[in-house]
């Protein structure tokens, strides 16, 4: 591949310090942005790209956030909707660490139970789900015991 073509494809500027979230499924990009509360973030430069060609998954989304490093709690939130995402930690223009997101064992207060007759939908209380299959992304309500597949998960 020629250097000229490479430059043409470089559509997003590199960042000095911060986090690049890569391999976000295109249809989940804005959900990921919302889960990370990027809309409330002030002062950080944020670049969002979508429908980039990807060898792995057809089209992908990517988010670059300057001077922001997420903690594990924040990261585990996005695992629900985009389990194969990779976080590149950038310091001084170099990728110093690549993190894969992983589902936690338990998800509290983040997901709405799909069962209208579940106590969590009728009482002011946080929801609680056990992750019963990390590969498939299946979760189970701690209260009504309803199982929810990844595609049916509703983020609160």
């Amino acid at each position: 591949m020629s250097a000229a073509k490479n430059n043409k494809e470089l559509q997003v500027a590199a960042i000095e310090n911060g986090t690049v979230i890569d391999h976000i499924p295109s249809n989940q990009l804005f959900k990921v942005a919302s889960l990370l509360e990027l809309d409330k973030m002030e002062g950080n430069t944020i670049t969002i790209a979508n429908n980039l060609p990807s060898k792995k998954c057809g089209f992908k989304g990517m988010i670059k956030i300057s001077d922001k490093f997420f903690n594990d709690d924040e990261i585990s939130r996005i695992a629900l909707v985009a389990p194969n995402v990779i976080l590149n930690i950038i310091r001084n223009y170099e990728v110093v660490e690549k993190k894969r997101v992983a589902l936690p064992d338990e998800i509290i207060g983040l997901v709405k139970c799909n069962n209208p007759k579940c106590i969590t939908n009728n009482e002011p209380m946080p929801t609680r789900f056990e992750v019963i299959d990390k590969e498939a992304g299946t979760i189970k309500c701690h209260y009504c015991e309803r199982k929810i597949n990844k595609d049916d998960i509703i983020i609160k």
């Binding site: 007759k117 579940c118 106590i119 969590t120 009482e123 209380m125 309500c141 209260y143 009504c144 015991e145």
Partner: protein, 305 residues
């Protein structure tokens, strides 16, 4: 048990189940034991269930305890919008134990998390009803003399029937063989079949309710096929008479076969079966008293001599 509350049968180990059944047998010998002297049990029935409530209240009374409570949430402050948490905490100020039935699923588990006193789940929507499972297990052991290596045939609504789902979990410690007999629309869900696979339990599925299956069985567990469960009413009309047990079908059944049903029954067991000595559903309900006495003592940590 993992908790001092009884919310779901899957929190009970094999040892827990056997201990509770042994204690239930002691209560069958003598149900009147003043083990709850000076104690108050609250029966909170946010949804009416006369049979279950009378059984629990009889259990408390025969143990010498006192009962407070309500049988219909429309007369309580929950109808004014009080949260379940507040109701539970308020009653916890007065009682030593809460026995609750609720139309919402997960209500009993949540209640057990907000209060320090034990909760017994007397049914939470379509979810769990562990005292029913315990009395089913008691009835099976009493009529068969054992729980191990039995062939149990479940008939009717296996999709929505929480009693059959819980019975699978309760029996899973005892190497059962299951036959699941149901119309296609109401067949045993994958979740329960996966549970059987995971625990190495043998099961066979049938859509026809035949004498051949009955003749292999030690226990015939009948359930009600309800019209409102069908999306296709033509299908209901087609199957409604297929899953009815008639006395003639028992002609070549095993001597030790017993017929169980969580009740109420409508037409799924013909009335001519009632006089057959293999019919056990009425005595089964009576066993509920002893099982519930044992459960109450279990959650309160009361030992029985």
């Amino acid at each position: 048990m993992k908790s001092k509350s009884l919310v779901s049968i899957d929190q009970c180990s094999k040892e827990d189940i056997l201990r509770i059944l042994d204690n239930a047998a002691k209560f069958e010998e003598n149900p009147n034991r003043r083990l709850l002297e000076g104690k108050v049990a609250a029966t909170l029935f946010f949804e009416p269930s006369t049979r279950t409530r009378l059984s629990f209240e009889t259990a408390v009374n025969r143990l010498g305890g006192r009962v407070i409570g309500f049988q219909d949430a429309s007369t309580t402050s929950s109808s004014k919008g009080e949260t379940l948490k507040d109701t539970i905490l308020m009653v916890s100020n007065y009682a030593d134990l809460i026995i609750m039935r609720h139309y919402l699923e997960g209500a009993a588990r949540y209640a057990s998390e907000v209060t320090q006193i034990p909760i017994i789940n007397a049914g939470d929507g379509a979810n769990q009803h562990p005292s029913q499972t315990m009395l089913d297990l008691y009835s099976i052991r009493k009529t068969q003399g054992k729980l191990e290596n039995l062939t149990i045939t479940m008939v009717g609504d296996l999709k929505y029937g929480r009693t059959v789902h819980s019975l699978i979990v309760g029996m899973s410690h005892f190497n059962p063989t299951f036959h699941f007999v149901a119309p296609d629309e109401l067949r045993m869900p994958d979740e329960q079949k996966n549970f059987c696979d995971k625990h190495g339990l043998k099961y066979y599925e049938h859509t026809d309710f035949t004498e051949d299956i009955i003749n292999q069985s030690d226990i015939l567990y009948m359930t009600r096929v309800q019209r409102e469960r069908f999306t296709d009413l033509e299908e209901y009309e087609r199957v409604k008479n297929v899953y009815i047990l008639k006395n003639a079908m028992l002609a070549n059944s095993k001597d030790n076969l017993r017929i169980l049903h969580p009740l109420p029954r409508v037409n799924e067991i013909a009335y001519d079966v009632d006089d057959n000595p293999k019919a056990y559903y009425i005595q089964q309900a009576r066993n509920g008293l002893f099982a519930r006495q044992a459960i109450i003592c279990e959650v309160l940590g009361i030992s029985i001599d």
